[in-house]
Amino acid sequence: MSLDLSQFHQAFFAESVEALDSMEAALLKLDVGSPDPELINTVFRVAHSIKGGSATFGFNEIASFTHSLETLLEELRAQRMPVSAAISDLLLKSVDVMREMLRAVHARQPLDAQRVADLQLDIELAIAQKSTAMPAKPNEPAAVDSCSWQIRFRPYAQFFARGNDPLRMLRELASLGTLEVHADVALLPALTELDPQACHMGWAMRLTGRIGEEALREVFDWATGDCDLAIERVSASGESPEPVPGMSGPRSEAQAAAAASESGSIRVGVEKIDELMNTVGELVITQSMLRQLGRSIEGAAADRLRFGLAQLERNVRELQESVMRVRMLPISFVFNRFPRMVRDLAQRLDKQIELKMSGEQTELDKTVLEKIGDPLVHLVRNSIDHGIEKPAPRVAAGKPPAGTVQMHACHRGGNIAVEVSDDGSGLDRERILAKARERGLIGVGDTFSDEQVTQLIFLPGFSTAAQTTDVSGRGVGLDVVQRNIKELGGKIEVQTEPGRGSRFTITLPLTLAIVDGQSVAVGRETYIVPLTSIIESLQLKAENVNRLSGRGEVFAFRGSYLPVIRLHELFGIEPRVRKLHEGLVVVVEGDGRRAGLFVDDLLGQQQVVIKSLETNYGRVEGVSGATILGDGSVALILDLAGLIRLTALRAAA
């Protein structure tokens, strides 16, 4: 049996990426001039553990880079070097480079070796400069008095399998001072029953020398969470006090917090959860099939059967919700990247900006979470670039010099709402109108309500910044943001007050796996129309329908004419009714355009589990997916935006 280390790569990458996030967060909190030692320790621990991991797995470039970084951090930690703004920047850049390296190694892509080498050189230069700039404070190992440490170290069974070897740690300890080791083999099973991949031993040690506790704990840094560790200082001469068995010595708050978040959680691959989700989806279908069957059953046992089925329905729903919750992550995963971004942007644009975040613990589905990041980045950039003024004009307007960008997330019904607001200049009605006219987006004489004006900023090709900056004027406008959000079944709204700021609110469904749908009947088929797209359903009178050449049938609806989409014609099926006044028209909206769907009948509203057509069959224009109904038949879920586009094309042809 051989041990393939690559199976641990995934965990290493995931853990390192998370560790880098916490390193970045700590760096951003770090006060230049009077740094909090605990924050430096946090940063140091991350660098140290990534170094250890990458060395174990043979990622030499990362190990070499983190080694330099660690040396620099060691200088900062020992206060042999001040934390200057330049150093702080250097460290933040190192976070970026390490992220890049991890990503490259993970994806087995080549590294940007030049960038890594340049930064590594900068780091080494900074260390070298310190030794010339601060000769007054030389290396002072003598600051630590000689003392003895009592160490109890018991690795957990999986210790070896995680790429750790106690021998390496004991060797490191021995290099620090005089080490006496006593092996505890009491729990070592008989050879015949011994699992060779598991660690069954423990060690009690006494280490004597000029050693600080930090240096000692560092030795075990990479193993935290994989072992019981007790470190106690004992007087150099006297007897050692008995350490509390199983206790891990005094811990700093940060370590305790890290341990608290570690305990009671496991890392699970997304594909496993998706599989589970899929199976639960199937279960929901089977259950609704049984329910339909139960209705038609008569006899003595029928009541009991129906009772059981009702119970099953409740359990299935709970199960589905639980699985759904497993996929939920707090939005802080996305919010966390903003402090850094805001800091960099403010620096670049010469503005003072305070970022406030609230509701970071609000949870949403991982898929939605992954897709909400870019729109939010765009909105925050917009706020900083276009919204918040430079300090001087702010003061002139009677506002504090530092602008505030606020990000807030909360649940509203079955949706999540994320707000990005600022106390900047707000949307300038006149400038927006002028720009829209200049771009030919609106006519010169057109008049608009305030709300209509704010909608103009979502038009393709719109940007009000007098000069396009490299910050938010990159040709990717708010129209893209709006389209992305609509694709997720959400919407974006703006409120603005000139001179006081604006607020963008994104509303998204909590999950993309289930949709609230209205089932409609056409002939013998059933289609699902997402409830969010439906405006209303109505029965048309024959005299309300006009036939226009080139546009097909249209009907008057709230002051405008909407095209009729005959679903049976589009999908080529035999309907039960052909006359518009005999069936029903469902007024729907997709991609900002409205239309009336002509259907035979409305059936009912229900939550349906979305099955991808693309993965199971192929992409079909006008259909966003499929679901399986209670009777086992398949119903297509309509994509209204696609459907309206399709009809417009056909009418034009």
Binding site: F160, P166, R171, A174, H182, L194, Q197
Partner: protein, 107 residues
Amino acid sequence: MKKRSLAARSARSLTLPGECTLADAEGLKLRLMRLLTHVTAVTLDVRRVRRIDTASMQLLAAFVRDRSTSGRTVRITGDSAAFAEASRLLGLGELLGFPAAAAKAAS
């Protein structure tokens, strides 16, 4: 006479490979198990060992202990810096009886 020659024939030794690591711990366990109940002295030759990890040392510790509890001995022979360091650092010198002098020398 006959009995002694039988004993001589059955005296066994195992030469540990140069690299004793977790990757081959299962193999080492099997080889040690074959020697576990061997009635006469067993010799482990460590002279080739250039690298040895805790997982392998743990197996040797269990092997030596299991044999000694049933009154059977194991002799470790050969000169290997890696093996000496490992048994010293892991505090197993005394249990393994190797090398007697290194068991207490700490630094």
